[in-house]
């Protein structure tokens, strides 16, 4: 399910900048559709980022993260070719992962 995630990891100096966009509705459960019916809550709750399978960033999210969540984070000590992967889990039990290799900026 890599298709629902865009990732980029660039090494600049000794810092790697990782950018991620996940396709996800992030529904709060408070919004109504065109017929006045509440749209059920559907949002990512847990996101884990790893560098060569070691956890670097563990996130817990609520409904206040915008639709199609965007995230930038920074790693020290990553090298060109290192693998960064992101896995998310949402409130409906859906999950997906993406992986990318660090490149020189």
């Amino acid at each position: 399910m890599q298709a629902n995630m865009k990732m980029r990891a660039k090494l600049k100096g000794d810092i790697t900048e990782v950018k991620v966009i996940i396709s996800h509705p992030m529904e709060t459960g408070r919004k109504k559709d065109d017929f006045g019916q509440l749209i059920a809550a559907h949002f990512i709750q847990i996101v884990t980022a790893t560098l060569n399978e070691k956890p670097v960033l563990e996130m817990q999210w609520g409904t206040g993260v915008s639709k199609n969540p965007y995230l930038t984070f920074y790693l020290k000590g990553a090298k060109v070719g290192d693998k960064i992967s992101i896995t998310w889990h949402d409130n409906l039990g859906e999950t997906a992962s993406g992986e990318i290799a660090v490149v020189q900026a």
């Binding site: 408070r30 670097v56 817990q60 206040g64 993260v65 930038t72 889990h89």
Partner: protein
């Protein structure tokens, strides 16, 4: 024990082991903190018991947001040994936006996009060991982002 029974036990154990990672994660999501309406209650559920104002937390967000559905926010902690950054929007229907926990060389700096229901303070709480530090920034919201 009959061989069939024994295999059944093995199967049950394997099944439980396979299910465990997801259950462990699901259980770890802090439901009480995220469903709390008031910021103080959300913070309490993150085990935050009082925080000190700090000038070493940078919050980069617009002074005015046209659309509260997407407010870009950058947070950077210059406090040594920052373990986690929690983001709150005081006047949202539920105040806690997210909690970001750093390990193994991740720098305490993130950029993300959040929803803001109305003009409010964005409050950041940084965790270092047993201590907590805070900074806030007000953002004027022209259009409700929670629908």
């Amino acid at each position: 024990m009959l061989r069939r029974e024994f295999l059944g036990v093995i199967e049950a154990c394997l099944g439980a082991a396979l299910l465990l990672p997801f259950r462990a994660i699901a259980a770890a999501w802090n439901k009480a903190a995220f469903e709390a309406i008031k910021l103080e209650d959300a913070a309490k559920n993150l085990a935050i018991n009082g925080e000190n104002l700090s000038k070493d937390i940078e919050i980069i967000a617009p002074d005015k947001a046209e659309n509260g559905a997407i407010v870009q926010l950058e947070v950077l902690s210059l406090i040594p040994n920052t373990e986690a950054i929690a983001i709150f929007v005081e006047k949202n229907p539920t105040a806690l936006i997210g909690n970001f926990m750093f390990a193994n060389g991740a720098l305490p700096q993130i950029v993300t996009r959040i929803k803001m229901a109305e003009t409010s303070d964005i409050k950041i709480i940084v965790k270092t060991g047993e201590q907590y530090f805070t900074a806030s920034k007000n953002v004027v919201v022209l259009e409700n982002g929670c629908g």
